[in-house]
Symmetry: C2
Amino acid sequence: MTEPASRTDAMRTGDVKHMKWWGWGVEGVGFHHEDKPGFAPFVHRAVGLDLWAGERTGRPDFSQLKVPASRAPEEFLSVLIGIVGPGNAVVDDLSRVVHTYGKSLRDLVRLRAGEIARTPDVVVYPADEAQVQSVVDAAVEADAVIIPFGGGSNIAGSLEPHPDESRVVVALDLGRLSRVLEIDTDSGLARIQAGALGPDLEAQLNNRGWTMGHFPDSFTHSSLGGWVATRSSGMQSDKYGDIADIVKGLRVVRAGGVLVIRAVPSASTGPSVREMVVGSEGRLGVITEATVQVHRLPESRGIYAYFFKDFDHGLAAMQEIAASDVSPSVTRISDAHETGFSLATSKASKGIAKKAQAGLMAYLKRRGWNLDEICLSFIGFEGDTAHAKRQKSVVDRIVRKHHGIGVGKGPGALYDQKKFDTPYIRDFLLDHGAAGDVSETAGPWSKLRGIHAAVYDAADSAYEEIGRKGWTMCHMSHSYHSGACLYFTFAFVFGDDPLGEYDTVKRAIQQAFVDAGGTISHHHGVGLEHAPWLEEDISAQGVAVMSGLFEAADPGGNFNPRKIVV
Amino acid sequence: MTEPASRTDAMRTGDVKHMKWWGWGVEGVGFHHEDKPGFAPFVHRAVGLDLWAGERTGRPDFSQLKVPASRAPEEFLSVLIGIVGPGNAVVDDLSRVVHTYGKSLRDLVRLRAGEIARTPDVVVYPADEAQVQSVVDAAVEADAVIIPFGGGSNIAGSLEPHPDESRVVVALDLGRLSRVLEIDTDSGLARIQAGALGPDLEAQLNNRGWTMGHFPDSFTHSSLGGWVATRSSGMQSDKYGDIADIVKGLRVVRAGGVLVIRAVPSASTGPSVREMVVGSEGRLGVITEATVQVHRLPESRGIYAYFFKDFDHGLAAMQEIAASDVSPSVTRISDAHETGFSLATSKASKGIAKKAQAGLMAYLKRRGWNLDEICLSFIGFEGDTAHAKRQKSVVDRIVRKHHGIGVGKGPGALYDQKKFDTPYIRDFLLDHGAAGDVSETAGPWSKLRGIHAAVYDAADSAYEEIGRKGWTMCHMSHSYHSGACLYFTFAFVFGDDPLGEYDTVKRAIQQAFVDAGGTISHHHGVGLEHAPWLEEDISAQGVAVMSGLFEAADPGGNFNPRKIVV
């Protein structure tokens, strides 16, 4: 059975929501630590930042920004306006600045410092695929550059125009293409427009009893097309798969026509063009639609918290769960540093909750555990009630075997509520002159401990090199049969050269990934940020094959040029 | 923990086993119907072939074959011999004929008719990856064509040199690279050389308690490299995944160096080069090694048989199982035609077994089932004993809901033993002047009934067109969340123009696949056989992207040219 779209018209350009031009999320929402008494002392201990003493920078003044003028010729603008209609092709400074960067730390530091070397020259908001095709054809005809834009949450430098790009740059905003077009209820497949943002997309599906199950950290401000273009992975990927597993069909507008991959469950039709588009970051064309796997909303869903004596015991349990017959929706364990951060930054608990936490810690201490080494883990279960219960009982047995203890659903529910808030903390630190950023990798189970140790060492050396007190923490998430993702957060207070210091630390961590057998990114993408390590990851011959693909598919270099491979 | 290789040396060229030059499998093994009293009457009813009246062709006489002479210049041969050593670069007629074709019906008809327009000019057997690199570099330097060869079981025309290829053609046989190099027991990953054939590979793994779980119909005579190069899928793919899911790391020898994909569980590093190599049929280089997921041998393993009233009820049950929380290792259901064939071709059962089958049929009849419409299904369960038991109980409930009945493990065990025998039946029919061939597709659950009907209609029209009495049958296998594979067998007695008649039927079926929303192949590959429909499957833009990849990656067209896209 096929259910048609709930909405029938394209969104109006004025209704397309963008994040703050200078930071994550929407105006008026931010991180506060007043209700988290442990936060300030923790930050002080970790990176030497005194949140009471320092001044918090306010919202930067847009009128002070020097925004390069649009270079779009009138004639080309008229062509675009002719396609999308007046009001849907704009050249104002704010629109162009909003479409200049993603939301990486590097992006925000540059924005706040007024460093805008190059913006798109025009932002277009097509209403449908036909308009995307006309825009693309007109842009290629004019030898302009096309950079597709979804939610703008990218942190790998996949969106910015190259500073010395001399051609006209078109930011192609997919925001108006936000509809769930139809649900094939027999097959668990939904056709969805690429510009749909996470919450809108899930709401349209949930209303009819379905979910895509894809919840990356960026969920609230990222789009389906962006997920596909960057090989995203959601926090429930253990059950639902990475976006590469979830997306079955694709429509991609290229110069002269639409590339169509039909939604078949599996095919033996040569090298996978579907898997070329996934991760292509705009270089093969503009993704306008994807047909994705959807699932009936589960009868039962719960995320449970566990504590382990140390990271080693926790990892061993996660590995055994991955090798077992059970399949939780989430397996995640924070290392000791991140556990300390989580415990310190939870809201001031009162009465019973506070006593319960104190009691738990006292109990763990009596067990002989070193509270500086304990690790907090979250494991999620979904499905029909009996299935979820059985899965949990098998997992509980494995946890006990590794001397872990379950502490119920409370912390898991909190995690579930707060899971999308992390970028706000990053911005809050930035307001106080401190870097807080993330870098993730994936590797086989046998190499995770080595990667973990290597990254800590590399970061420590880098902090020493820049002469700043630094902090590193990590969690393991996204389990697979043969390995998992390690997700690192690093922080330090900026000195005189913010981006130079940031580069030193970030580079050290990326180098440690590839040297220790991990990949340069598990789910953030390559963009400009990770491109320098691509060859060390997929080999010179691998890069040669990929470059060849881009050059052959886009001989004029019109589609988001110089991203992934320079 | 990493366990090293069990064997340390490359196999000797003399020990590399090949199939019969004129058919499937090894000399002395073939299909017999003397112990299957229902077979001959069934064949007579289905396609009008009288197995008692007709004469069976014997083994063709190799000395009667006109084998084109090798065109390899002495100088080039000396270079190759210098690399691999004397005896490992051969030009004899038998070796070159063995490496000319795969084992498709078209291949066997041509071989038996002495139609050999072009053979490889030399067959080389490198001992290791370094020798493969030297052979590849020498061949590219000499502007020769390189066609990698594994088990030679391909049925999509992926192996044959193009008839008007004027350059020297090198068949690069990977047979000596057959070792499991190491097992990463922490990660469930094994590094295996590409030339390893199914049984040898599984034996090396099983000896240490592991399995790859990949069992395509060709298992006994196909290689790991071939599976990767053609996007193979095994009959237990429901649990273990397709080869595209199983293979994590790759080593591919290209002109000038090795492309290395490290075995990480998942990565966000642009378009997937791994997924470009998978399915590339030799066009991107020579696969020498793959790191694959392996699993501990399951504690419990069983394949159970079920009967459904008709295909529609059976499909509905399979669909519900795929949407549920359980994950059997095998889900397979034959349509009424194939069920009739299976029942007719089982061995003469005696005593209790015979009575049991008769009793079962009487019981189904009393239930009001039309015995001409009943469908036989196999569902497999693996894992620890409790898990397998639970899975079965959930499946049994779903089966009952769709009015199916379980008939125990007996027929499943028989299926499990006989699952690799089908190609011998094909050759037996060919000996009697009849075509029996297969074509498979995959589609979403919502389209499977439509594809099934369309293929029957198309085949019937084609049989009418060629004026032959034809037979079509089908099973559904390889379940996924969003759909499954439909695997068709078609048969008829040849008239005056075997290949013309075969083409008419085969083309009609392939066209029905794409017209009804399926893919042109689920796991056989594209080669020359399916290339004409590629554009209708993945769109003109998809073919353009793929062609661009091949041209950029192999500008001289030295690597198995003109396969997949012409």
